[in-house]
């Protein structure tokens, strides 16, 4: 069992934190930045007939959230196998 190899576990944890940072960065970008902060600027464009900023707040961010969870699960499953700590 490689679970006691501390150095490996630290590397595992570091990669885990990196994934979370990137994914939560996207999470922040689509909801807070695109849906709230720059929503008026984005509304100048349209997507499928809707103002882009409005779309981000009401559909785009939600779809992205679901995708983020899927990607996180996929990445972590791969990481668990790489460090041999899968269940």
């Amino acid at each position: 069992m490689s679970i006691h190899a501390t150095k490996e576990l630290q590397a595992y944890w570091k990669e885990n934190l990196f994934y979370i940072a990137v994914l939560l960065g996207i999470w922040f970008l689509v909801s807070y930045v695109c849906g709230i902060l720059i929503v008026n600027q984005l509304d100048a464009y349209t997507i499928g007939g809707f103002p882009l900023g409005f779309w981000f707040a009401n559909q785009g961010s939600l779809v992205t959230f679901v995708v983020l969870i899927w990607v996180y699960v996929w990445l972590m499953d791969r990481l668990d196998i790489k460090y041999n700590v899968q269940q």
Partner: protein, 202 residues
Amino acid sequence: MTILQWTWILTGLSFALYIYIAYAARAKSTGDFYVAEKSVPPFMNGMATGADWMSAASFISMAGLISFLGRDGSYYLMGWTGGYVLLAMLFGPYLRKYGKFTIPQFIGDRYYSNTARVIALVCAIFVSFTYVAGQMRGVGVVFSRFMDVSIDTGRDHRHGAGLLLRHAGRDEGDYLHPGRAVRRSDHRLSDPGDLRLHAVHR
């Protein structure tokens, strides 16, 4: 018979059925209570939890809030759903690895502190009240239309029945949600050999 009489009879019968299911499949332990003794495949468990959230609070109150507030309602939409991402990334895996069912349990054990446990508990109670307030109102509206009574009476009927269900089943689940009932009644039939720990957030 009038439509109203039929409504009362059918509603009464479906409540009786739910109470019977709740009683027949009542939880026997803490593990049973939260994850059906881990005897249900993760996919089923996820479906049951998903069904649990499809309630009056999300369908009626959230939708009503958003249509009432217009664009400003988007904050609720993003906050409500964005929270799931935080739960999935920052809590889910660790609850699972610790083998705990609730966030207060996990926080208390992880930080070796009963103070932290109590703080998490108080937060959880606040979250529940916020959630339940919307749900109560939504249910009251539905039942008042349905049974031709005032919103308050409708709410009381619904929650009187809910109280009975909970005592019959001794379960945290709300048996008005079909997914829960399916999960409860199914888990006795499935093989308890599969012990994949599947933590459910509440």
